[in-house]
């Protein structure tokens, strides 16, 4: 059992290399295809008048080399462990990623924790009381949060907070390393706005998955054996019902670790989403490339972890 599992993980990790190469070439080409150029954006209208200034900057940033050469130069640096410097600010790309990724990761983890903590119990309750008042109100809750985008809920939270509880910190970010308690507190409104929207989807999913499982033969068998109702629901049914829920939550999580751009904007969180969007606006090629490498790796690793999770939930799921 242990052997095929490690070789499976090894294989998946090896696949990361061609994936990263492919993604980086593709991003590099795409970002150079977008009209608009870095130098005009950097210099602004005031300073782009001078051809000498323009040429000096183009040369300093190696933008006068052929695209393939630019890519290979970048790749060479990356292979030596150097992600380079932002073309706009001169900041180290690695430092910028190290600064913003923890924010995004913390937001994703908190949002997911809230989504699961709210969504799964709600779904189970709705399933076990299908057709009754609680089920109906869960459905209303789900519909509300599925229909209203997270940024709308976020804006409502901020405006409401400012009006009725101005002492509450709804905006800004405290690094986790500075003060874990304050950091979690400051991010709670953002994480809730994001988490509640996902919890609504999870609740719907859990409910239908539970209803399906509860109708299956083995549940009837368990009941017939005299297993208590709680045991049937939580031990037998939920475990089986969770697999599609985990798959769905996993997809949501992969999306979250890419940076929740709009929520980051609304709640003024200095995360990955804003970093990448600003880098694209400014055609900050090295920053975009570095971020894409990190995001791709993260997505591949999360997917791998998810596959391993299925195995933990149900040992019968094996890997070839």
């Amino acid at each position: 059992m242990a052997r095929p599992l490690t070789s499976y993980i090894g294989k998946r990790l090896l696949l990361l290399i061609p994936t990263l190469l492919g993604v980086s070439v593709l991003t590099f080409l795409l970002i150079h295809l977008i009209p608009g150029d870095l130098v005009t954006i950097l210099l602004g209208i005031t300073a782009s008048q001078n051809e000498q200034t323009r040429q000096a900057l183009i040369h300093a940033l190696h933008l006068d080399r052929p695209l393939a050469v630019q890519y290979l130069l970048w790749l060479g640096d990356v292979l030596r462990g150097d992600l380079g410097h932002s073309l706009v600010t001169g900041f180290s790309v690695r430092d910028e990623l190290a600064r913003s990724y923890p924010v995004t990761l913390q937001l994703a983890l908190m949002a997911m924790a809230i989504a699961l903590a709210v969504g799964v119990p709600l779904g189970v309750l709705a399933a076990t009381r299908a057709g009754r008042a609680l089920d109906a109100s869960t459905r209303v809750f789900s519909l509300l949060f599925i229909s209203a985008p997270a940024f709308f809920i976020g804006t409502v939270v901020i405006i409401g907070g400012a009006r009725y509880a101005p002492w509450l910190p709804t905006l800004g970010h405290v690094p986790f390393t500075e003060s874990p308690a304050r950091s979690l507190g400051a991010m709670l409104p953002a994480a809730s706005s994001l988490g509640l929207a996902i919890s609504a989807i999870i609740a719907r999913f859990t409910r239908s998955s539970m209803l399906e499982v509860l109708g299956q033969d083995f549940v009837r068998t368990a009941r017939a054996k005299g297993v208590a109702d709680r045991g049937v629901v939580y031990k037998h049914a939920l475990r089986n019902a969770l697999i599609p829920v985990v798959a769905m939550a996993g997809t949501q999580f992969v999306y979250l670790i890419g940076g929740a751009v709009i929520i980051e904007e609304v709640f003024a969180l200095p995360g990955m989403g804003r970093l990448v969007v600003n880098a694209i606006y400014q055609r900050d090629y090295t920053m975009i490339q570095g971020a894409v490498l990190l995001l791709t790796s993260a997505a591949v690793l999360v997917n791998l972890t998810l596959d391993l999770l299925y195995h933990l939930i149900d040992r019968r799921i094996l890997y070839a």
Binding site: I34, G36, G90, P166, A268
Partner: protein, 535 residues
């Protein structure tokens, strides 16, 4: 040399009227006596941190490298310049205690004594020399290199004397020195230690950098040994980056931030009557929109067609609808720069008054009796530009000019605009420039590669050269008025309006000095130096 400096009048705290009469050409450049600070209603209280809600994170803090207005907002509180402007826009000494015009191309500045850098060392003349040489060095890739290319050499004969020698008479020189991002004096040792000043800062200004977390916050703290005794009153100044407009407004209402600028004219009504919030109208309109025509191909090679566009649009209606009245009719030199700015109305400038019948006649004359089809590029990054474009489209349709509005991503829109790579017309927001010459030279001159629309006019070129080299202020005013009238007459570019940013403050902020038209980067100002919090 030294004799002549000692001859020059000592200027304390700034130059006096007499000093300038003695200094010849300087009076003509528009320098004037310092204004007396307004009488205070209350005694200022010390302490507290004022929080500014900023919409965009500064891409870096180096005033000599960053062309972003959001960097200058920070830099102007951290760095000093040789000269600065007072709220009346007069030039007064900042790091310079006195100065002397030796001749049209040689200027000598005597530095204020006892000014120290935030990191402890004394300011010396070599720092000033270094600051300009750094901008001129190609390796720095400073956006201001071409602005200073007029400099032949900068010399530091002793610790407190700086001498500039320029290649030929250049009227904007002193304005540029007083512009925070062009003229910031930076410390050689800190630049050399860190490579640049994008992440670190040490200046001689009223506030010192405490920390800078990109996309999150810039925290400044009081400089206890600032060269204006007693100032600043605040213990700290924080720029909190809040990208979302609704969130910024909510934070101001809740009192967690005390200041925000550039409130959209359509949104400022939301804040009217909010408890504890004060709205400030700008004292003058300095920012503008500019629409350029692609004049490399028909139909806009024809002056009649451009004139038709100019009279087909109704500037007053645009100001009333898009800006809700918060704007003025303008040329490229905005009304806040009057008397250089053409403070005319639509009757005073040729082809400015709304006249759709004339527009049709002009079109018929040019062979477009059936009207014409064209495009207008705008960027959704600036919703106000898009709204302006929509209103203009309607107005132009009234004269038979059928416009397709093309929304283009900002990076592409800016490039197209600057290089005339759009099909018909393109419009972007333009910013205030520190001198009439800086407003028009590069975008009007036929030899410039950012000539907006690629038009060539020998008369325009001649006036531009005259404006740049004429040191007599009244003659300069006449030259720029001629130029603006000529450009309006030929309708080379359309300037639909000048606008300004409404600022919103908490009522606890006192003695905040707003310089006319204050908007990010659109004015040289230190606006929180004298401010204090009534807590």
């Amino acid at each position: 040399m030294t004799d002549r400096i000692e001859d020059s009048t000592r200027l304390q705290p700034g130059p006096t009227r007499r000093a300038f009469l003695g200094a010849g050409a300087l009076t003509l450049l528009g320098l004037a006596a310092p204004t007396v600070p307004p009488a205070r209603a209350q005694t200022p209280k010390r302490g507290g941190t004022l929080v500014v809600a900023a919409d965009v994170s500064p891409p870096g803090l180096d005033p000599q490298k960053s062309a972003a207005a959001h960097s200058w907002m920070i830099a102007e509180h951290v760095y000093s310049t040789l000269l600065r402007r007072d709220p009346k826009m007069n030039l007064v000494g900042d790091l310079a205690e006195s100065w002397q015009v030796v001749n049209d191309t040689t200027f000598v500045f005597k530095l204020r004594k006892g000014v120290g850098w935030h990191h402890g060392r004394d300011l010396v003349a070599d720092d000033v020399k270094y600051s300009f040489e750094r901008m001129l060095d190609e390796k720095t890739a400073s956006p201001w290199r071409s602005n200073w290319s007029i400099i032949d050499r900068v010399e530091a004969p002793d610790r407190s004397t700086v001498r500039f020698v320029i290649k030929r008479p250049f009227a904007p020189f002193f304005s540029y020195l007083a512009t925070p991002h062009y003229g910031a004096i930076v410390p050689r040792d800190i630049v050399e230690k860190n490579g640049d000043l994008q992440r670190v800062a040490s200046g001689t200004g009223p506030f010192m950098l405490d920390r800078f977390v990109p996309d999150n916050t810039v925290v400044l703290k009081r400089n206890p040994s600032y060269h204006e005794p007693g100032l600043p009153y605040l213990d700290g100044l924080e720029y909190r980056i809040i990208p979302d407009e609704a969130a910024r407004l909510a934070a101001l209402r809740a009192g967690t931030v005390q200041y925000l600028w550039s409130v959209d004219p359509l949104i400022d009504r939301q804040l009217q009557g909010a408890a504890g919030v004060v709205l400030r109208e700008p004292d003058g309109y300095c920012a503008q929109h500019g629409m350029a025509f692609n004049q490399t191909r028909p139909p806009f090679t024809e002056a009649a067609v451009r004139r038709a566009v100019s009279v087909a649009i109704n500037r007053r209606e645009i100001i009333a609808s898009v800006l809700r009245g918060h704007g003025e009719i303008t040329t490229k030199i905005p009304p806040c720069d009057a008397p250089f700015g053409y403070r005319g109305d639509d009757k005073g400038l040729p082809y400015y008054a709304h006249d759709p019948a004339l527009a049709r006649r002009l079109l018929t004359e040019a062979g477009f009796a059936g009207g014409l089809d064209t495009t207008l590029e705008v960027s959704p990054r600036f919703p106000q530009t898009v709204r302006t474009g929509e209103v203009m489209k309607e107005q132009l349709a009234g004269a038979g000019i059928r416009v397709t509005l093309k929304q283009v991503e900002w990076g592409a829109a800016l490039k197209n605009f600057v290089r005339t790579e759009y099909e018909g017309m393109s419009m972007i927001p333009l910013v205030w420039q520190p001198d009439p010459d800086a407003h028009v030279y590069d975008i009007f001159h036929s030899g410039s590669n950012i000539n907006l629309g690629k038009f060539k006019d020998a008369r325009v070129d001649q006036l531009l050269e005259q404006g740049r080299t004429t040191l007599d202020r009244d003659k300069r005013i006449a030259i720029y008025r001629d130029l603006q009238r000529h450009v309006a007459e030929q309708a080379y570019l359309i300037f639909p309006y000048a606008s300004g940013a409404t600022e919103a403050l908490r009522d606890t902020v006192k003695d905040y000095v707003s310089i006319p038209g204050a908007q990010p980067g659109s004015r040289s100002r230190i606006f929180f130096k004298q401010a204090w919090l009534d807590r």
